[in-house]
Each structure stands twice: as structure tokens, then as C-alpha cells.
Symmetry: C2
Subunit: 385 residues, 2 copies
């Protein structure tokens, strides 16, 4: 990245579809809903959008981005579908940012969309074509192993894991875009059905249906569209190593490295952040991811949540939207959805869940822990106002 | 593109898997075969590869690029899966080129892979979620409509369409990488089973299994790897309009526009080309695509093939590899496979199918004519030695 000459790039419009089970809607319906919202938010003529990256994980349809974009008047443009497991949305955001930053477009559209209730093949989400899959290692199984190792190594507790879910459901209760807008007590989380010890049902995010869209603009044209731009100042994407058996699994060397690269490009560090949206597909992920991001020293992620530092009003609020746990997780949409939340936060438009005076926000997604591809991809994008 | 500052980028290694029905191999097997060949061709330490774009259309596996790359020692890198229907491979080539050209990496890997015999859902390849699909408009149906319109408007003949297949099967008979390495006579093509009048079976490319890989390098490091670099000098990618009913279908305005953009970046025109690899999924496509590319005036594509201008030894050889018709078409692999062929041709390594003294080659793929997404994507990449 240091060899690149990048222009400054701003977010000028964001939009989301409803998140939640909506099997009556197809990918195009969901994506169109998000794009219309983003176009209205930017008050832009869609004909001025010059290119589009659309993240989508599941679905038989090819050229899905084209199909969505055409419904909102964006045709005859460069369009690419990307996929990177849970980090697919982060990838679409990064690719669109880079296209604008390097001068390929002045205005670009990032879309993330998935319909998990209609497009995902039945059965456990683990491939039977690799050794981990053959051993029965599904995503919850892997997450539980991570949690067990964290407990053994650092003394983390079931209560700390459960508190992640309590916090994120509280945040979700303040967010009209969240799939789950109800509080959940510590007792409810710990007492819910055991899925894979120590992982209980309410420590697992719900797969769901939804889409999100973000419009990026080069600095020279920003004033035409908004007086409250949100600048994308840092970005990194990287995949890791393979095979679970080569290393400690309570931390992600990939996540640490991506964070270091994104911080370097932004010229910022973890102490500069006002809020973080991160990958909490399982409650344990949030604890190790806060450590990967440098929000606390290694091993202290459990203490961080227990002290309330990551709650709204705390030192560094994590997932004020409610995260994947309350917002729901349409795989490729989440990394784009996080940018909507951060934009609203930095504009001061986040309503009851507003982080006071937020100036810097970071979006983190990490995916591909399924079926032997631990280290599939981690994408981090950083924004300022 | 004119706003971008691009470094010169060379192809330093290419490789292909076997193309043909090989259901015993998975996507990872095919991709690994191609990557090993490309790495050997470049004589590069795989650890020096800094990023990877992997095109794949069909397959349940996520992060497929990571899985393939890890098998050849490329880990802990930026990796993205892309999809763009038939133009997916062209997209991976373009994205990797741009990443190197803009300084994101010095060395990048483009992979294209599909296993059409094992991963494609059964049934006609048309969505039932849009109006064209509901009308029964499959890809061959659409191709036949294009041919009919071309016949009516320009007087093209069944014989001219059939000659495309005869030429490409002849070329394939000279290519050890082709799926079909047998000659086919005019009578055999015209007499084969009628699929959708005037389209006969042997005018349709075979879906198949295969992978291809290309390694790109920034100018400053090229000398470390090769004394015979092939330079990528032009590239464009664009999607078109929707709905078949809005326009004439015997030409592709999208294809014409992408060609104009790619020629402009390269500073070259159709008269400068020594060979072309193009999208001949159906014999009629080759005729209209030669017109889109400016190899002859609009409407004269039929005459071009009949005169022998596009044959080996002709004025502008088209698909010396045998094209999709003889080479076979693993959807996302084809756009990368074309770059292998062009590289071999420009190096003078194309054996019996060598275009004498070839200095400039163009790769063209156009996809997404299925199920209402006419104008899905067209990708063109241009190379020189």
C-alpha cells in the first residue's frame, strides 16, 4: 500500500434493507432496497455512479450486482461480484474505496447482499472435502474450541462470553435496523440451549437476510453531495494460514496484521478510536477480536467486556449497532452494514445508540473459519469525520 | 482510467490444468495444477507472490482462492474471489493487473477455475426469477436469436456460422491443451443435432472442467524473473443494459465500448493486433464479436470468417487455441486461459498453432447473456511483447 498514490475518499451515502428473515424477498429485492436508501441518502443521480463492487456469498444468480444496480438506474458501468466468506462485504468496501482512491472512478457503489434463509444449502456449513470438515468441525465447533483455549490460557469465563451477547442485544434494542431489538439477560444467555460447550444458542449470531450499500466519492466532488462527509482513511485485507493444527487458535495473527496495516495507512492507532464494529458471529470472537485490534492487551478481552469498557458510554464502545449478534448476519452484507452504522455514528445520526462526539470508527470482519480455512480473510476499514 | 497513474506490468508466468471432463478432481485440484504450472513457468518462489484474485463461478466453497493458493505456498496474502459470469476470468486478470499497476503489489496471481461437471446445478441455465427466464430464454435460445437477427440484417449464412466451428476445431487439433483435438468438417457441424435453429450442437462450446493461472509483475522486478516478458498494456471491463427487448441484439454496444476503452489505454487499435482470443461460446458470438472488436466493419463478420481472414495464416487469426468451442469452457477459467495462450503466442511457444511473429494479442470475454442479464459483463485485456 505504501507504494500507492491514493486520493482522499469520502462516504457520501449509506443505506440498508430491513435485516431479518424475509424469504419472500430475493437477492435483487434486498439489494435494491439498500441501494435506493443509499442513493436517497447521498441525494445523487444514480447515473453519476461509475462502478460497483457487489459482495454476495450464496445464490445461484450470476452478475447479481448488475441485476441490482440496473434496478436503480446504474447501467453500462464496471461491475464485479466479490466473495470472501464473512469478510465479503469488507472486501466490496475496500475494492470500491481503492477504485476511487486510485482514480479509476470518481464515484463508486459498494453493495453487500445475502439471503441466508433462501440461498444457503442445507446441512452443516462445513465442507466434506477437507480434513477439518471430515472431522466434523463446523463453525460453532471451531468457535467453541477458540473459547476453550482462551479460558484455559487467560482465565476467561462463561460469564464474560455471555456478557458480550447481553451488551450487543442491549445495543440492538436501541437500533431500529437490528433484527433483534430486545434486551437479553445474563441468565437468558447462559441458560439458553447448549450448542457446543461453552457456546450457548444466544451466544451465536443469527444468519439472516439483508443488504447494505455505501456510495464513495473522490474528494474533489464531495462538496457537490454533502457537507458532512465521512472519510475512509484506512483499509487492509489479508488471508491467513491454513490448518487449525499449526498454531494457537485463541488469537488471529491475520487479524493483528490486518489491523496493523489499516492503522498504518490511516495514521491512527487503537487509542484514537471512538467506536468499533467487529465480527461477533460468536460471542467468543468479540473477546479475541478486541485483543487483535489492540483495544486491550492480549488475554484481557474478557476483563474488557466485564468492566463495561466496550459498552455504550464505555471507554471504547464495540458494536453499538448490536453487532452480528443482534443485527443479524447476512454473510456478505455485514461488512457493508458496519459502514452504514459507522457513518451514522460519525454524522451524529445514530439516535439512542449514539456514541457521543464520535470522530473515528473502525469496521472489522473476519471470515472463513469454516471447513479448514481458518484464516480465510480479515478485512478492516477505518473512517473519520 | 485516464485519471489513474499506472506502472507497466508484465506477465512472467502462465499455467493451465488439463481442460476436459474430470469429475474426479475438485476445484482445489484443478486450481493447484494451474498454479504449479504458472509458478514453474515463472521460476518464482511462491512466497514472493503478494496477492491473488481468483475467479470462480460455481461451487459451494468459499475462499476458494485461499484454499488453492495455500496448496502452492501462497499464504498470508490479500486474496479475493471474483465472479462475472463468462467474463469472470477476465475480471481476475484485470483486478490483478490493476493491483500491480497501481502499486498495491509488485507480484500478483490471477486464477480462474470451474468444474462444470460437478458444481453446476442441474436444469437449463436460466433463472426463473426474471421475465426472460420465465419465457424460456436459455443461453442457446438467446444465441440463436442473435444469429437469426444477423442473418436477416446482414445476410449471414448457416455456412458462415458453421465455418467458425470448423476453424476453431482445426486450431484445437493443433493444441495439446484443447479439450477437443480433432478436426471437424463443415458437413459434420451443419449435420449435427439441431439445438435451437440455426444453432447446431457442434456450434456450441462444451462446458467443462479446468483452471488457468497467470503471474503478473511490476516492471522494476521483471528482469529478476524473465528475459521474455509479455506486457499487459490495455484493459477494460464494463456491464451493459438489461432487457433484450430494448435494442438490436446482433451487436453488443457493451463490447464495442469496452474495446474502445481497452484500445485507448493500450494506445493501439484493431489494425495493430496479430491475434485475438475471443468469446465463442456459440459460433454466432464469434462473428458478432469480431465486429464489436473492429476486426471488420459491422455486418461483415460472416464474410470475414468465410474469406479465411481469421484462420491461422490469415490477416487476423482469431482463437488460435481453438477458442471455447475446442478448448472447452470452464466458465471462470476461460478469461485467464486466454492469457496463457496469448503469452505463449507472443513468446513464440505456441507450437503448431503459432501465429508467425505475433507481437500484439487481445483477449475478449463477454458473459451474462443468460436469464435477462444481456450485457452482464464484457472484459478485454491487451498484451504486447
Amino acid at each position: 500500500m505504501s507504494r500507492m498514490t491514493l486520493r482522499r475518499v469520502a462516504v457520501i451515502g449509506v443505506g440498508m434493507s430491513k435485516f431479518g428473515k424475509q424469504p419472500e424477498k430475493g437477492l435483487v429485492d434486498l439489494g435494491t432496497e439498500a441501494c435506493i436508501a443509499a442513493i436517497k441518502d447521498a441525494a445523487i443521480n444514480p447515473k453519476h455512479i461509475e462502478g460497483c463492487y457487489c459482495a454476495n456469498s450464496f445464490g445461484e444468480m450470476h452478475c447479481i450486482g448488475q441485476d441490482i444496480a440496473s434496478k436503480v438506474g446504474v447501467v453500462n458501468r464496471e461491475m464485479v461480484r466479490v466473495e470472501n466468506a464473512c469478510a465479503g462485504g469488507s472486501t466490496a468496501v475496500r475494492e470500491t474505496f481503492l477504485a476511487v482512491a486510485t482514480g479509476r472512478y470518481d464515484i463508486g457503489l459498494a453493495i453487500g447482499v445475502d439471503s441466508m434463509t433462501t440461498c444457503v444449502p442445507k446441512g452443516p456449513m462445513a465442507s466434506n472435502k477437507d480434513i477439518d470438515g471430515e472431522l466434523g468441525l463446523t463453525a460453532p465447533g471451531y468457535a467453541a474450541l477458540q473459547m476453550r483455549r482462551h479460558m484455559e490460557k487467560y482465565g476467561s469465563t462463561n460469564k464474560q462470553f455471555a456478557l458480550v451477547s447481553v451488551k450487543n442485544h442491549h445495543n440492538g434494542s436501541l437500533n431500529p435496523y437490528a433484527m433483534y431489538q430486545q434486551e437479553m439477560t445474563l441468565e437468558e444467555v447462559l441458560g439458553s440451549r447448549m450448542v457446543c460447550d461453552p457456546l450457548t444458542l444466544y451466544m451465536i449470531c443469527p444468519f439472516t437476510d439483508g443488504a447494505a450499500a455505501v456510495i464513495f466519492c473522490s474528494e474533489d466532488k464531495v462538496a457537490q453531495y454533502t457537507s458532512t462527509p465521512v472519510w475512509m482513511v484506512g483499509s487492509a485485507l489479508r488471508s491467513g494460514d491454513y490448518s487449525l493444527f499449526w498454531k494457537e487458535i485463541d488469537a488471529s495473527p491475520m487479524g493483528e496484521q490486518v489491523a496493523a496495516e489499516a492503522y498504518e495507512l490511516a495514521g491512527l492507532g487503537p487509542k484514537d478510536l471512538d467506536l468499533v464494529e467487529l465480527h461477533d458471529a460468536f460471542a467468543g470472537c468479540e473477546i479475541s477480536n478486541t485483543e487483535d485490534l489492540g483495544l486491550c492487551p492480549r488475554g484481557e478481552g474478557g476483563v474488557l467486556i466485564e468492566e463495561g469498557a466496550t459498552a455504550l458510554g464505555g471507554r471504547i464502545p464495540v458494536s453499538p449497532s448490536g453487532g452480528l449478534l443482534a443485527q443479524g448476519h447476512p454473510l456478505s452484507a455485514s461488512g457493508v452494514r458496519q459502514v452504514c452504522e459507522i457513518t451514522w455514528q460519525l454524522r451524529g445520526q445514530a439516535g439512542k445508540r449514539q456514541v457521543d462526539g464520535a470522530k473515528v470508527g473502525l469496521a472489522h470482519m473476519e471470515g472463513g473459519i469454516v471447513s479448514g480455512i481458518q484464516g480465510g480473510a480479515c478485512g478492516i476499514n477505518i473512517f473519520t469525520r
